[in-house]
């Protein structure tokens, strides 16, 4: 969804995640999970996905286990818990479904984070220019603060007795003498001091930023929100595609259990088509690219 207008990307993710959560249907969940994983693989290097999985899988496992432990509805009793409550097959299956749903949603969000970069959020917030501006200023200040935090830390290390003299001696002579707690206390104290310097520094020069805004006419007239994103024909088509799929899914006839009648089948197809949209668009782009290159 990278090349599309941010509103289109947002609509896509909202639709996909919404349907995944909204329609707790095993086939929907599987389609959603598979497409999400495929798309994530196309967007991010495998190493990163592995790292991400290591964080997410425990959560998924907990979700799967939680349901049969706390949910005792169902008719097929498999075993009894020590407190006498039954573990039912239905609850186990439901737990697994919930876990798949969670995995799918989290993976979609992995893609979402990759696609929705900060400038796209600012564009999406364009309906409220003031909020968009606050977001933009915040994002402007963050790297500046990070650099400044480093600068202050280094300056403290080389110019302040609180950090150096004490630490210098400690490091060289009696590191072992100081308890774990004392060291932690010192490090918290140090961190708070650095944070406090950062805040005074920042507060003083944010006035200059405000002056710079005023001197460039901020507040004189109602503001507009400029952006380098455009709404092209391609975006219109994509939006139409998403809407069409959504309508087919919504009118599709399916119950709590998958029934392979015509309405349900159409809904599954439509959902698969929806989830595959970004993957198809990437594949198409790559094919075109290859094709046009081989011509030259």
């Amino acid at each position: 969804m990278n090349g599309y207008n941010p509103y289109v990307s947002l609509a896509f993710f909202a639709a996909v995640v919404g349907f995944t959560v909204f329609i707790m249907n095993p086939i929907f969940l599987l389609i959603s999970l598979i497409c999400a994983v495929l798309y994530a693989c196309l967007l991010t290097p495998l190493g990163k996905i592995a790292k991400y999985l290591s964080l997410v899988l425990p959560l998924v496992a907990i979700t799967a286990v939680m349901n049969p432990l706390f949910n005792h509805r169902g008719v097929t009793i498999l075993a009894y818990l020590p407190n006498g409550n039954p573990v039912t097959l239905e609850a186990v299956l439901y737990g697994i479904a919930a876990a798949i749903m969670l995995a799918a949603v989290v993976t979609w969000f992995l893609c979402f984070n990759k696609v929705m970069t900060s400038d796209k959020f600012i564009y999406v917030l364009g309906f409220s220019p003031a909020l968009a501006l606050v977001l933009s200023i915040t994002l402007r200040m963050l790297p500046r603060f990070r650099a400044r935090l480093k600068e202050i830390t280094a300056a403290q290390a080389a110019a302040s007795p609180l950090v150096t003299s004490a630490e210098y001696r400690d490091n060289s002579r009696n590191v072992t003498k100081r308890s774990f707690l004392a060291r932690k206390k010192n490090s918290v104290k140090k961190a708070i001091k650095i944070l406090s310097i950062l805040i005074s520094w920042t507060l003083e020069d944010c006035i200059e930023t405000a002056d710079s805004m005023k001197s460039r006419g901020y507040g004189l007239r109602p503001r507009t929100s400029f952006s380098i994103f455009t709404f092209t024909r391609r975006d219109v088509f994509a939006l139409g595609y998403i809407a069409l799929c959504a309508v087919i899914i919504l009118v599709g006839d399916f119950g709590d259990f998958p029934s392979f009648n015509l309405g349900g089948g159409r809904a599954f197809l439509a959902f698969a088509a929806l989830c595959l949209l970004p993957i198809l668009s990437i594949i198409r782009e790559q094919l075109t690219w290859k094709f046009s290159q081989s011509k030259i």
């Binding site: 909204f22 400038d119 650099a147 006419g217 004189l220 007239r221």
Partner: protein, 895 residues
């Protein structure tokens, strides 16, 4: 035809002697005007008067005409570029910054696109058009600041020391662009600058100011006759060797002029230099920032000697600063050895990085308290350092109120208290005017010359060749990660053809071995103050104190009281600027006065205050004039970030049941329903914020708190839940009010998840943080909660109950499609230890930081005439008392 006409402009900051005195001035359309003078001479104040949006508060007489008309708010027609590129850039992307001004004018996208494209082309910005601002170099940032002002197509461009933070090559590029704008577009340029080498040859009119008056106004040739002490070397040489012939302004003119002069000798004798004991030896250092990054330092070796200043010079980005950080120990080399006799101290490039206290005196005491010496010794030591650094008159001032040079002297004093034997300085002359450079040079010289066997080894890194030639004993050229050549300063600069001083370039064809202005003047037989070649390179200049300290101190006290009261008053006014008609006041104590005002206000919340009965501190006129200034439209009206939590709450209450019933009716998932509810709750606040058109300062301060909270959230990873983000949101809520608190909270959660990863948890966190910010704003109305302990207790409670309550609930809702009561209990049980750590962290952070931080917000609020702190009356009272007590208690005698 004149573009600017100033007639008898007199301006004084409230209750101070005039900063501008009877200024009359004509500036021609298309002129390039250079305004120069020492720090504190009123340059900045004069320039700000030419830009209506930036005129400072104070009493103003006289008239300013722009294009024949009295100066109104010609926003687009006058552009203003400030000193610090860093802080004047508002947005995060280059393209957005270029469009910012045009967005403010309300232009549509197509028009903005065209103008931005034009500008990017003109300034050559295309290649970095899409970059985030944080990746630009200092020079690029300043060019961007210039371009984003030029995009509004101004007829006049005002620049306040735009190149003072730039390294020489970037500065030269900046000036060449400026010359092009002036020449090709006919834009009038009015610029103040310390670095005159580049600016002077471009100028068509030079104005020299001193103590708020214009002492010279004319062509460069006419003006340089006054105040040569800060002029470029050719002018200085000409002036000090008897002013024969026409004054040369550039090195080229200077060389031609020198050819016509009779030189007394062929070459200057080489000064001898005796080396002291070795203090520091660095051998074969190698360093890179990341494992796979290229080496930055490649086999660096150097030695520092006691009693000697070693200057490391060299181009930008060659690794000089990195080398210094290795020696200082903040980075570790992966190969090589650093052997030092004693502890190494480094003066940071920006002195603000080590300021923590409320006054210079307290700064010094804070450092001194770490010294293990007796009281009597401390006292003598402190007096000595204060004397060396010339801080006597500054001890009561707030560090942030000092000029750049004074700040650096304070930072240096802090360091000298630790009795450093090895001292590192990074770009010590950056942004300093000629006078402060001399003061600094003298201090450093004094340190190395100490006879009692305690002389210091100084290593400094600088772009400032003239300074190094003047004050360093040895110079080393740094290039490509190592030192290429090293020699005594005089031999070093004589041997170079390009990388050398202007005096050397100007005089080399007639006078060998001359590197400083003094050398050339001596060679010409002029007066250098000493009879021999300047072995002691000190120039006969007295260090200056820009303001008479005792008077100014008194004035400041009075002034700050008035401002405090006024900013208090202004808060009672609502944003529609209803006139204050009544102020009843206790004539003895401003604090009590404020309190009585408060109770007055409480009595009739929305009624205008009707009468000013008395002003106990100063003549009534002062108060009146101040008041009218505050009311005037020049400045951003002071207003609290108003909150009316009722209306958004109403919408919230109305829509939520609808959502819930609809959700149940359609059998929607809990998660979906609750997410919708959260957005329904937050959206009204967002729209209310948008609707009341927040002022620039409100926006920036909200963004600052968000950014601090996010930075703090990612910077503290000592323990999983030990994060100060909630503490900062609470402080924002208390300081800025509930609406801003909610905004800071929600925005913090949202932005930090841009880095940690958005997910279904984002809306929940936004809700939790937002509600905490809102509640902090509500309790912040009571003065009791502005003290650290009650606030900390409050913080602990809300962290535990609101954050823990919401997030543990959310954990079940998010991940369980059919939640049961047991699941919630389990979730709360599992979350309990985390919540306890989290709320403990909030309590600790709030106890330690809340009071100082609230004071800081208020200080900025008072100093800059308001606009950021909504509840100042209640906050100012304790703040005020503290300052009054603190003012006298900390001085030299109190050790």
């Amino acid at each position: 035809m004149e573009i600017f006409t100033i007639e008898n402009l007199t301006f004084s900051y409230p209750n101070q002697t005039p900063t501008l005195a009877d200024i009359s001035l004509k500036i021609e359309r298309g002129a390039f005007v250079l305004v120069c003078g020492r720090t504190g001479c009123g340059k900045t104040t004069l320039l700000r008067h030419l830009k209506p949006a930036l005129v400072p508060h104070g009493e103003k007489r006289g008239a300013i005409y722009f294009g024949g008309e009295p100066l109104a708010d010609h926003c687009e027609k006058i552009g203003f570029v400030m000193q610090s590129a860093e802080s004047q850039i508002v947005t995060d992307k280059v393209w957005h910054e270029l469009a910012f001004g045009l967005e403010n004018l309300g232009l549509d996208t197509a028009a903005i696109r065209l103008r931005v494209a034009e500008m990017a082309n003109y300034f050559g910005i295309q290649t970095w058009f899409h970059k985030p601002v944080s990746e630009l170099s200092g020079g690029q940032k300043q060019i961007l600041a210039l371009a984003s002002v030029m995009v509004m197509q101004p007829a006049a461009l005002i620049l306040d020391e735009p190149a003072s933070q730039l390294e020489p090559i970037a500065a030269a590029e900046f000036f060449s662009i400026l010359a092009r704008i002036n020449r090709e577009l006919g834009v009038t340029v009015i610029i103040s600058e310390h670095r005159l080498e580049e600016a002077l040859p471009l100028a068509s009119q030079v104005i020299i100011m001193e103590k708020g008056r214009i002492i010279a106004d004319g062509t460069p040739q006419e003006s340089v006759l006054v105040g040569q002490s800060f002029m470029p070397p050719p002018v200085q040489i000409w002036a000090r060797s008897g002013r024969r012939g026409a004054c040369p302004l550039t090195v080229r003119e200077g060389a031609a002029w020198l050819s016509t002069q009779t030189v007394k000798m062929e070459e200057i004798p080489i000064r001898q230099h005796t080396q002291g004991e070795c203090a520091l030896s660095v051998t074969d250092l190698w360093f890179r920032y990341e494992k796979n990054a290229p080496d930055v330092i490649k086999g660096l070796s150097l030695k520092g000697y006691y009693g000697e200043i070693l200057a490391i010079v060299g181009g930008n980005a060659t690794g000089k600063t990195t080398a210094l950080s290795l020696i200082a120990g903040s980075n570790k080399p992966y190969r090589g050895k650093i052997k030092a006799d004693t502890q190494i101290y480094a003066l940071p490039q920006n002195p603000k990085a080590i300021f923590t206290e409320k006054s210079v005196g307290e700064e010094l005491h804070a450092t001194l308290s770490f010294m293990e010496i007796t009281g009597e010794e401390k006292r003598r030591h402190l007096a000595n350092v204060v004397n060396i650094c010339g801080l006597e008159s500054l001890l009561d001032r707030h560090p942030y109120d000092l000029s750049g040079g004074e700040q650096q002297q304070t930072a240096l004093a802090k360091l000298l208290l630790l009795r450093p034997r090895i001292l590192l300085l990074d770009e010590p002359t950056k942004g300093l005017d000629a006078e402060y450079k001399r003061t600094l040079g003298k201090i450093l010289r004094g340190l190395t010359a100490e006879l009692s066997g305690a002389s210091t080894a100084i290593i400094l890194v600088s772009h400032d060749i003239e300074f190094c030639a003047e004050y360093a004993d040895r110079c080393a050229l740094f290039f490509d990660g190592g030192i290429v050549t090293e020699n005594t300063a005089q031999r070093f600069f004589c041997g170079n053809n390009f990388y050398t001083t202007s005096a050397n370039r100007m005089a080399r064809h007639v006078l060998g071995n001359a590197v400083t202005v003094g050398d050339v003047v001596w060679g010409l037989g002029g007066d250098v103050g000493t009879t021999s070649p300047p072995t002691s390179p000190l120039q006969p200049h007295e260090p200056q104190n820009p303001v008479d300290s005792s008077v100014s101190k008194e004035i400041k006290h009075g002034f700050s009281r008035i401002t405090r009261i006024l900013s208090g008053l202004s808060d009672f006014r609502d944003s529609r600027n209803e006139p204050i008609r009544k102020i009843r006041e206790n004539p003895l104590n401003p604090c009590e006065a404020l309190e009585s005002l408060e109770s007055d206000f409480r009595g009739s919340r929305n009624e205008p205050i009707r009468k000013i009965r008395e002003n106990p501190l100063n003549p009534r006129e002062a108060l009146e004039s101040l008041k009218s200034d505050f009311r005037g439209s020049h400045n951003e009206p002071i207003r609290r970030i108003r909150e009316n939590p009722l209306n958004p709450c109403l919408i919230f209450m109305l829509t939520i049941p609808i959502t819930i019933s609809l959700g149940i009716h359609l059998a929607l998932h809990f998660n979906l329903i609750s997410t919708l509810i959260i957005f329904q709750a937050l959206l009204p606040f967002a729209l209310a914020f948008e609707g009341r058109k927040p002022k620039a300062r409100e926006l920036v301060i909200v963004a600052v708190f968000c950014a601090i909270a996010v930075a703090a959230r990612s910077a503290f990873f000592m323990y999983p839940q030990f994060k100060p983000a909630i503490a900062i949101v609470i402080i924002a809520g208390v300081a800025l009010g509930g609406e801003a608190g909610l905004l800071v909270g929600a925005m913090t959660a949202f932005v930090s998840n841009m880095f940690f990863g958005q997910g279904p948890w984002t809306p929940w966190q936004m809700l939790a943080f937002g509600v905490i910010g809102l509640s902090a704003g509500l309790v912040g109305r009571w003065r009791a909660f502005r003290r650290s302990v009650p606030l900390a207790i409050f913080g602990g409670i809300v962290t535990f109950f609101i954050y823990g309550g919401i997030m543990n609930f959310a954990n079940v809702i998010m991940y369980q499609p059919s939640p049961t009561a047991e699941m919630f209990i389990a979730s709360y049980a599992v979350g309990l230890p985390f919540d306890i750590v989290h709320s403990a962290a909030t309590v600790i952070f709030l106890i330690i930081t809340s009071r100082p931080l609230l004071d800081k917000v208020e200080r900025v609020h008072v100093k800059y005439g308001g606009g950021i702190a909504p509840f100042s009356p209640r906050g100012i009272a304790p703040f005020h008392r503290m300052t009054v007590v603190g003012m006298s208690s900390r001085s030299l005698d109190s050790v």
